[in-house]
Amino acid sequence: MSDADSNKTEPGQPSLRTTRRSFIKGVIVSGVAVSAVGYVVYERTARRPAAGAVERLITLNVNGRDRRVDVAPHETLAYTIRNKLGLTGTKVSCDRAECGACTVMLDGVTSYSCSTLTQSVRNRKIVTIEGIAGPTGGLHKVQQAMIDELGPQCGFCTSGQVVSAVALLNRNPKPTQDEARRGMSGNLCKCGAYDHYLKAVMRASQEA
């Protein structure tokens, strides 16, 4: 049996191997556990923060759920939701608010989570790609439209594109082509599938 064969998984059979994704998530979970231990052990001896300084253990409202999480003052929202909350659907690409892969919604408006401090969004409702779903829990119409219009190619920008498109349609359910283009303009696609994404937004808006 060659090496190549051993990596094969029969189609239709559930794989018993650890997938890359679940492995990363495991790492994240254990990381959270370790950092929580640090919190319990060290926090008592640490000096009290000065007046106005932020607390580390905060509650974030993510995708409709309140989540307790330990957040450093200099932590970005993208880091927190990916590495502390395990919501890895949000991608980080440029880390400089210049590509849109990390787009999330804060109180319904889109934001680059890579360039937002987690501590500054404590009181806001955060919606990531994981929180976007259709009324029955399946795909959101934007997601379905993007599949139908062959929007994603490599797919790395897609979660950001979906969040931007959903936010746009929530605010303006029947955008013109120009409005849609403008609404989606904060998300880069390295594969250049802009027209596909745009068509998907227009298709989703017509389905409503």
Binding site: A53, D95, G100, V109, S120, G183
Partner: protein, 332 residues
């Protein structure tokens, strides 16, 4: 040097009231960093060019938010986001110039969180400065852009003095054209200054683009009613329509009476460290009929004193065209 990892640690303070912010600024002094939307601040921190001890997140201060009408115009809280300004009915009705200008800033996500105060106060985008080199603006004693090999296509045509960086704000020229007043507050009181004093060139202060002192916070921007509902024009030319800072932008407010120009304020961005107000052009076209010849005259006379660098000569005809179009196409 660009280091792509998480930021260096700092202490974060989130005052809910202005007076708390002032006492933080007073106690930390030079080690404090004022942060509004944060899109610019976080780049500095990530690149480790700025390493403040204490970051003061101003976004929790409610008194610095919102747009309200006053007897002599409109008051905009410095923390009001660009999206709010873009969609605000009062601004759209009376000061469309500002709504137009901020709608051209960066990308939708950035406009959703970027504030008008931050947009007006943003630091220079000169790539040498942003790279963390010890240039004049960083407190050093040289300029890397204005050299035979320096890449300076985005740099200044006017008012360069050792440093050749320009203002990259889209909001600033519009605010200047609308004769906005800037309210700077500190623990020791407040002062209200015009755009001509708020934006400073390198000849006066080579380290900062605004007159705000470290202990001061830009809390409010006031738009006087004198320019409400006049003829406006804003246009921005950048390499890309999203994200990019302007190569040149123009903001014009023109008051027309019986088809003739009664008074005007024409301001060009991206050509000087401060929003470049065309006082001479305003004088030339004053009283002239609002027609093609006047527009051409304005454009031609706008670039008279320009001193191009090696690679930014293209800005001269670009600026002339934009000024011509501004005078020709300004509408109520």
């Amino acid at each position: 040097m660009i280091v792509k990892d998480i930021m260096a640690p700092f202490e974060l303070y989130q005052p809910a009231q202005l007076k708390d912010a002032f006492s933080l600024l007073d106690s930390f002094g030079k080690d404090a960093w004022k942060m509004a939307g944060g899109y610019d601040s976080l780049d500095w921190f990530k690149d480790r060019i700025v390493r403040p001890q204490a970051v003061i997140d101003l976004t929790g201060i409610a008194e610095m938010k919102g747009i309200k009408e006053t007897p002599d115009g409109v008051e905009i809280g410095a923390l009001t986001t660009l999206s709010e300004i873009e969609n605000n009915p009062i601004i759209k009705a009376k000061y469309r110039l500002l709504a137009d200008a901020v709608s051209h800033v960066a990308s939708p996500q950035i406009r959703n969180h970027g504030t008008i105060g931050g947009n007006a106060s943003q630091n220079a985008r000169c790539l040498y400065f942003r790279y963390g080199l010890p240039c004049y603006r960083a407190g050093g004693n040289t300029c890397f852009a204005d050299t035979p090999e320096g890449i300076n296509r985005e740099h200044a045509l006017f008012g360069a003095d050792r440093c050749v960086a320009v203002t990259s704000s889209d909001g600033a020229p519009a605010l200047t054209a609308l004769d906005a007043k800037f309210v700077l507050q500190s623990s020791s009181g407040q002062r209200v200054i015009g755009a001509e004093e708020f934006f400073v060139g390198p000849n006066v202060d080579i380290l900062h683009l605004t007159a705000a002192k470290p202990e001061e916070i830009l809390t409010t921007i006031r738009l006087p009613s004198a320019w409400a509902g006049k003829n406006f024009y804003f246009e921005k030319v950048a390499d890309r329509n999203v994200w990019d800072f302007p190569l040149v932008n123009v903001a014009a407010a023109i008051s027309v009476q019986n088809g003739a120009i009664r008074e005007s304020r024409i301001v060009v961005g991206g050509v000087s460290a401060v929003p470049h107000r065309l006082t001479q052009v305003e004088g030339i076209i004053q009283g002239k009929a609002l027609e093609e010849g006047t527009a051409t005259l304005a454009g031609q006379s706008s670039t008279r004193d320009a001193r191009p660098l090696n690679y930014n000569g293209f800005k001269i005809p670009l600026m002339a065209s934009l000024v011509t179009r501004a005078v020709r196409n300004a509408t109520a």
